[in-house]
């Protein structure tokens, strides 16, 4: 039994498409304590969402877990049947999605959709569930909750709908909340409100959060730990300070360089990471970032870099770090 709330060890997951096997996750390991916030950052297709979805058993067809150990709150996820999984989903682990405009069913009222999850996982009566729904809507900062319960999704704004999605996710007081880019589809002012709400609720309810995003600003303000993903691998993992002040992987450094800064003069160009992500259908033999890496060495193109532990939490996968470690031990490179 794992000592952590979430522990993922060496997860491998592939999508078996007609064009061939797409290796979406390669040797992903992470863990999370109760009440902690983990941020997963990376560009599109890096495996952020897939990592989180696999914890909920929501991996879309034709994705398949092909290796690794997944533990959550005393459940060994690898062994869970679909029936057992259903009991956990929505109660112990829940998720809010990217697009609140399409994530609610247009033909049912808000109340119906909130009560549905309450009644599914608890033995509450209809009246009790409605009372709980009112409580939840108040909790997520929606005014006139009784009136809202009778409204349909199309009668609410995007921010309101995302609040409803949060209410649904929190209905059964989950241990873990997965937030899959919860603010990407919202206006900037609404984004800030939703993030604030999430932090407030975390404080109140004490659940752990996995925050999937490509917005480094979001993670810096919310997360305890950050996993930087690239091409289905975690390339660097550490505390917020590790990632922002002591980044070791070239990709992390590149990401940080590409953030626009307020102090910069006008018309200053942003610094992009040159090149494009690799094709996961035919991944290269060596480090997936090597083709875009400024510090690329011969070995990087030949072999996958192993993880180098930098301290108890902080680790990264880069040959440069291996070299440094080797030299520090007094070896000859």
């Amino acid at each position: 039994m794992s000592e952590y709330l979430v522990e993922v060890k060496n997860e491998r997951l592939s999508f078996f498409t007609p064009a061939g096997e797409v290796k979406a996750l390669n040797d992903v390991s992470l863990h999370l304590n109760e009440g902690e916030v983990l941020g997963i950052v990376g560009e599109s297709g890096s495996g952020k969402s897939v990592t989180a979805y696999s914890l909920m058993g929501l991996t879309a067809y034709p994705g398949k877990l092909i290796g690794g150990e997944l533990d959550f709150n005393g459940h060994h996820i690898n062994d869970l049947t679909e029936r057992d999984f259903r009991k956990i989903r929505g109660s112990e682990i829940s998720i809010i999605f990217q697009d609140p405009m399409t994530s609610l069913n247009p033909v049912y009222t808000i109340g119906n959709q909130i009560c549905e999850v309450i009644r599914l996982h608890t033995s509450k009566t209809k009246a009790e569930a409605t009372a709980r729904a009112v409580e939840l809507l108040t909790l997520v900062g929606i005014n006139e909750p009784e009136k809202r319960l009778k409204q349909y999704p199309h009668e609410l704004s995007g921010g309101m709908r995302q609040r409803v999605m949060i209410a649904i996710a929190l209905a059964c007081e989950p241990k873990l909340l997965i937030a899959d880019e919860p603010t990407t589809a919202l206006d900037v002012t609404i984004q800030a409100q939703i993030l604030e709400l999430m932090m407030e609720l975390k404080q109140k309810l004490g659940m752990a959060i996995i925050m999937i995003t490509h917005d480094l600003g979001v993670v810096s303000s919310m997360c305890d730990r950050i996993a930087v993903m690239y091409a289905g691998r975690i390339v660097e993992y550490g505390t917020v300070d590790d990632i922002f002040y002591r980044p070791e992987h070239e990709y992390t450094k590149g990401l940080l360089r590409s953030i626009p800064k307020l102090s910069e003069k006008e018309h200053q160009k942003l610094v992009p990471i040159e090149g494009t992500p690799i094709d996961l259908l035919n991944p290269p033999k060596g480090c997936p970032f090597a083709p875009r890496c400024k510090a690329c060495m011969k070995v990087c193109l030949r072999e996958m870099p192993p993880y180098t532990d930098l301290d108890e939490v902080h680790y990264s996968a880069c040959w440069l770090l291996q070299k440094k470690e080797f030299e520090a031990k007094g070896g000859n490179a």
């Binding site: 069913n105 999850v117 199309h154």
Partner: protein
Amino acid sequence: MGKYILKRIALAVLTLFLVCTLTFFLMNLVPGGPFMAEKAISAQAQAAMNEKYGLDKPLTEQYVNYMERLLHGDLGVSVKQRGRTVNQIIATKFPVSAKVGGISVLVALAVGIPLGSVAALKRGSWLDNLIMFFATCGIAVPSFVVCTLLMYFLSLQWGLLPTYGLSSWQNYIMPVMALAFYPTSYIARLMRSSMLDVLGQDYMRTARAKGLSQSKSLFKHALRNAILPVVTYLGPMLAYTLTGSFVVEKIFTIPGLGSEFIGSITGRDYPLIMGTTIFLAMLIIVMNVIVDIAYKVIDPRIKLK
């Protein structure tokens, strides 16, 4: 809602007026007349008959007379079926067609919706291919071929079912199969494509993330969204199926309204042409209003204006 219904009634009156007027003048434009049979009738007899039914008067006068009677709900007297009014003919024939047609519609819905849904759920499988093969056949094969095949095998070869009339419940089986084949196929295809669309929607993922079972999320969340296109199709389909099919009624010797449609036109039975056409038009209008209201009930986003 009340305002909407009033608006629809006003629109229906206008539509019916246009249908009446167009049909009236178009059918009179077609050469020939009710008393021009193959065997020659004396010119005198023809003139007498025309006078009896008021067909000797100028067309505009005939039109005004007809419309006046129509306003009182009188569809006139059949020219060919001696002594019977059009109202009587519709009143006796329509229930027969409606009964066979109504059963067919129910069968089409009960079979088409599950088949289409299953095909969508198992897309790409042999089951999906099989269902879509039959659905394509149902749309492509004309009903007289279906009727003939049914009759040949079920009655002639295996002697299971009677071939004509409506005297027992067994008599209904073949006509219903023949009538329901096309709508069933059409509904199955509609259902498959809309179900595929709905299954890919984000709210279906939300339903799964809530911990709902596949059957529950399917019945509660998918079906209600996916059924809308079928409801749209249901309006005109109901009107046409309830008024009977000429082919099916002829082949199975069913005394329904469907054969009156074609019979009235080939016989130039002017009042009956008018009567059946107006009746069908009214039925279509009513069905469409019902469909619109059903739409509103199923999908709250739809506003009736």
